[in-house]
């Protein structure tokens, strides 16, 4: 699992509330990624980071922001959660040319 943890693992929240998901890695990898997984879509890239304070948008970045103030932590924030953001969120790191994934966070927005 390349030392990747995600928190929380499950969350239920209400429309309009802010939500922050955390990805933590223990092996000092430079590249980190946030994906969402929905039925019929596979995994879609939300944002990624190529270093501390260096981030870029992915395919489905609208409604999401990220921050990386330390190498080991990559935060994903939903400023005002909507029902369309109900999904399973995966964090990943890149080690040389291979990606390794965290266990995922199941988010439900009511």
């Amino acid at each position: 699992d390349a030392g990747i943890t995600q928190s929380p693992r499950h969350k239920v929240t209400e429309t309009g509330t802010p939500v922050t998901l955390r990805c933590h890695q223990t092996e000092n990898h430079r590249y980190m990624y946030w994906y969402r997984q929905d039925p019929g879509h596979g995994l879609r890239l939300i944002h990624y980071s190529y270093g501390v304070k260096d981030t870029d948008k992915g395919e489905v970045s609208d409604g999401y922001s990220v921050s990386r103030s330390k190498t080991e932590d990559f935060l994903l924030t939903l400023e005002s959660a909507t029902s369309s953001q109900t999904s399973v969120y995966f964090c990943a790191i890149r080690s040389t040319d291979t990606q390794y994934f965290g266990p995922g966070t199941r988010l439900t927005v009511l």
Binding site: Y31, H41, G42, L43, A92, D97, Y100, F101, G104
Partner: protein, 111 residues
């Protein structure tokens, strides 16, 4: 942007059968990976294979970069092979560190 198409979308096999999963991509890539997502949701990297052929036990993969496709072979399938298989590519150029996934092939192996 780059498109990644996987086929078939669903596959049911009898234990012991062989299968071939295909991934087509629409542009040049720096990187191609195959992943397996087990029924509990865990994503495991199977191969990093931007070109050529690799084998790992009963699994092997071949990528023909010039023709923009990759194949994943599963031989003597087992029930533990069930799950979803994803192909993922990193396009060349400015988006070289992005990774784009296909929609996956859902495999069910019957005992």
């Amino acid at each position: 942007g780059i498109q990644v198409e996987q086929s078939p979308p669903d596959l049911i096999l009898q234990e012991g059968a062989n299968s071939t999963l295909r991934c087509n991509f629409s542009d040049s890539v720096n990187n191609l990976q195959w992943f397996h997502q087990n029924p509990w949701g865990q994503l495991i990297n199977l191969f990093y294979i931007p070109s050529g052929t690799k084998q790992n036990g009963r699994l092997s993969a071949t990528t023909v970069a010039t023709e923009r496709y990759s194949l994943l072979y599963i031989s003597s399938s087992q029930t533990t092979d069930s799950g979803v298989y994803f192909c993922a590519v990193s396009p060349r150029g400015a988006g070289g560190f992005k990774t784009i996934f296909g929609a996956g092939t859902r495999l069910f192996v019957k005992a």
